[in-house]
């Protein structure tokens, strides 16, 4: 397997970028950090398909492309379907002996935003997971439809204001809970499912390598801080992601074969979720006295989730 070893960051930085600059993502967008890291953690040939979303519309603006690999542009919901087809064709041609270089290692990767993963492409993703194609699906979770102006998606957490779930005198923003996509995908019996964050670059690169090296459908949910819709300064992308992982809003963990849960990062000092919320404009209204109870309920939710993860890790079931 031609996967590069990563001992430290200096070693990692000798890889040659296969995701080029001058794409049109916002300054400070975490999408490109995640994509770059995936493409740097392997030497294999990659076949990538991308759902419609920020990543797709801003990396392939005609006449330019930012991808140095085979890349398929497909509809809003079809990345999982397209990569399934590509993988099936690759296997068939390998069997018939019509490939130019049959021994070259090829990995199949699909990227989708949270809108196309949690909502619009959910059925297609579920189907591809069930059929058991050998691919890795990476969800870039920025918790709203950022490409079209920040509408709510089923990934948007409780209390966040979006253009279609606005905070105001009668509302504190979105009232519904965030969908737990990692558990849903683990319930498909996928061999490797994980939730990772770009600020912990090492666990993220290792997670990507594990997923690429595992045969079968793998799913990775990555936290992608959105400077435009979360409303923070572009330079603070990594700082906000730090807050997210340290406040356990986004715990970093993996689930192997649907049952073996490992927590990959335990913060030394767990910070209260207020710090994470206060750093972003989309939660500003929660600090009014009448909405204080929302913060308390968010904190309670997080504590319960963390307790559940720890107990599942111990129980190994």
């Amino acid at each position: 397997m031609a996967i590069t070893s990563i001992k430290n960051l200096k070693e990692f930085s000798t890889n040659n970028d296969r995701f080029e600059g001058a794409h049109l993502l916002c300054p400070g967008c975490a999408h490109s950090m995640i994509v770059r890291e995936l493409m740097n953690c392997t030497d294999d040939n990659l076949v990538i398909s991308t759902n419609t979303g920020c990543l797709e519309v801003s990396t392939a603006v005609y006449p330019y492309t930012s991808w140095d690999t085979s890349w398929i542009h497909i509809g809003f919901e079809n990345a999982a379907t397209a990569i399934s087809g590509a993988e099936a064709m690759y296997k068939a041609r390998k069997r018939k002996g019509t490939l130019k270089d049959p021994n070259a290692p090829v990995k199949f990767v699909a990227f989708g935003g949270d809108g196309s993963t949690y909502d619009i492409g959910f059925q297609w993703l579920s189907g591809a997971m069930e059929r058991g194609h050998d691919f890795t699906y990476i969800c870039l979770d920025n918790e709203n439809y950022a490409n079209t102006g920040g509408q709510r998606s089923s990934s948007t957490p409780v209390g966040a204001t979006t253009t279609t779930a606005q905070a105001g005198s009668h509302s504190y923003g979105k009232k519904e809970k965030k969908k737990d996509i990692v558990s849903i995908m683990a319930a498909h019996g996928a061999p490797y499912v994980a939730q990772l964050a770009p600020n912990k670059w090492k666990s993220m690169a290792q997670g990507f390598q594990k997923a690429l090296g595992t045969e079968g459908p793998c799913f990775i949910n990555t936290v992608s801080a959105c400077t435009t819709e979360w409303r923070f300064d572009p330079k603070d992308t990594i700082h906000i992601t730090d807050l997210a992982t340290d406040s356990l809003m986004f715990p970093i963990y993996e689930i192997i074969e649907g049952h073996e849960l490992n927590i990959l990062y335990r913060p030394k000092n767990v910070i209260p979720v207020e710090e994470y919320l206060a750093a972003q404009g989309r939660y500003r209204h929660l600090f009014k006295p009448e909405h204080k109870h929302v913060i308390e309920s968010i904190q309670k939710e997080i504590d319960q989730k963390w307790e559940m993860l720890q107990r599942r890790e111990e129980a190994r079931i």
Partner: protein, 151 residues
């Protein structure tokens, strides 16, 4: 049944839409294919940016320099080559060769400032300056090492 045959024979609707060359259900109409490189691109993963032959379609040949209001300036004297800026740069704009940080690619940098935030040295080896600042002016006004506050 007969009516359906008639419709198919006349291609009703197709001609009116001006789409006589519609593909069948078992054919594929190829979309746009854009090649990132000129010629063979098999060993691209082992080539550095300066060794590759980019095609005009690759966004590497484009620039987003006009997006910047502020630009990061690199001071090699303070750098410890930790490569934090390289791993977190969203625009692949940190030029790093053989484990050493060499500078910033100002064609692709959008001036977001993430590299400055993640720089761990004291004083920082990357700082933001206004876009029009000359390199010499920026380097001559570099801040001194700040002492830790006594507790």
């Amino acid at each position: 049944m007969q009516d359906q045959d008639l419709c198919a024979a006349q291609n009703r609707g197709v001609r009116e839409l001006g789409a006589e060359k519609l593909v069948g259900w078992d054919e594929v109409q190829q979309g746009v294919v854009i090649n990132s490189f000129e010629g063979d691109a098999t060993g691209i993963v082992h080539q550095k940016a300066e060794e590759r032959i980019y095609s005009d379609f690759n966004s590497y040949t484009a620039t987003v320099a006009s997006w910047r209001v502020q630009k990061p300036v690199f001071n090699i004297d303070a750098c410890i080559d930790c490569q934090n800026c390289w791993v977190w740069c969203p625009d692949s704009s940190i030029i790093s060769r053989d484990k050493q940080m060499l500078g910033i690619d100002y064609d692709h940098c959008k001036g977001c400032g993430v590299c400055v935030e993640v720089c761990p040295t004291n004083p920082k080896s990357l700082l933001m300056f206004a876009e029009h600042t000359e390199l010499d002016t920026a380097l001559s006004g570099w801040p001194e090492k700040t002492k830790k506050e006594e507790k």
